[in-house]
């Protein structure tokens, strides 16, 4: 076996794990390897800019990437953390419009990418990939709809305020600590919304984030917020 065939076998194994190519035969995967470009990114490297055109779908071979939007005031909202074997950049590639979100590597990340024209050729050639892509996009729509619900209809800050009051102690360590994930589960929202709520409360001067402590600096204001959701 030549070194080249060993590399190709490794690439085929990787492709097998990627949702887009699930259920394809080794021969079919073999025919797709020629469309793959590889890229490695450092932690913090911007891979996609929101509002810029993009012509490639990316697949994470190792590492993790955050998808985010930035407001005019510079506030960041994380939309999703994309992990190993998942894809991003699909939306702009399939509709030909601009990137709806930015993408930034959270850790050193290895990516495979396929250009729009090549993806179109793969879709024509392999109907199974079309079915897989529908599944992937539906999953992304569900995640986005859930986030829209959180952002639009739920008074997340008010409910975070209520939880902070319920769990506030005197610093003697006799009250249970809460992770952002636990707060999210209590509020019935995504973890991303908790970070955003805590930052907002800090900006309003109601709390102060002091490393692993949430210090309530304006108890009355917090009660007022919590009362709004009582």
């Amino acid at each position: 076996m030549s070194p080249g065939s060993g590399i190709m076998a490794a690439e085929i194994e990787i492709l097998k794990s990627i949702s887009y190519f699930s259920g394809l035969s080794t021969e079919e995967l073999n025919s797709i390897t020629k469309f793959i470009s590889k890229k490695t990114t450092e932690r913090g490297e911007i891979i996609l800019l929101e509002g810029e055109p993009s012509v490639e779908v990316y697949f994470i071979v190792s590492g993790a990437v955050k998808l985010f939007k930035t407001s005019a005031e510079g506030k960041e909202q994380i939309l999703n953390i994309v992990r190993q074997w998942e894809s991003f950049g699909d939306v702009a590639v399939f509709d030909g419009a601009l990137n709806p979100a930015g993408a930034q590597a959270m850790v050193p990340t290895m990516l495979y990418s396929i250009r729009r024209n090549d993806i179109e050729a793969i879709l024509r050639e392999h109907p199974q990939v079309s079915r897989n892509v529908i599944q992937v996009l539906v999953s992304q729509v569900r995640h986005s709809m859930s986030l829209v619900e959180d952002l639009s209809f739920k008074h997340v800050i008010d409910r975070v305020a209520k939880i902070l009051l319920e769990y506030a102690g005197d610093g003697s360590g006799n009250r249970p600590r809460l992770t952002q994930q636990e707060m999210a589960a209590m509020v019935g929202t995504a973890r991303e919304m908790i970070g955003r709520s805590l930052k907002s409360l800090e900006e309003e001067g109601v709390i102060r984030l002091d490393r692993h402590r949430v210090v309530i600096t304006d108890n009355e204001a917090l009660k007022e917020l919590a009362g709004a959701n009582a």
Partner: protein, 66 residues
Amino acid sequence: MLDMPRIEIEKCNGCGLCVGVCRCGALVLIESVISIITTYECHWCTDCELICPTGAITCPFEIVIE
């Protein structure tokens, strides 16, 4: 004793994502098992908790009234 993020070793799959995301070098993989180094450079960014795919790392907050 300085508080540091908490690790549940039995949940850790040794993927190392937390090591990559940690900006203060507080997390190290020793023989594919995560370990934490106490450091004042840790500012509780909670990125390690965010990125961990198995929930092995948690950064719990103590809530106190000033």
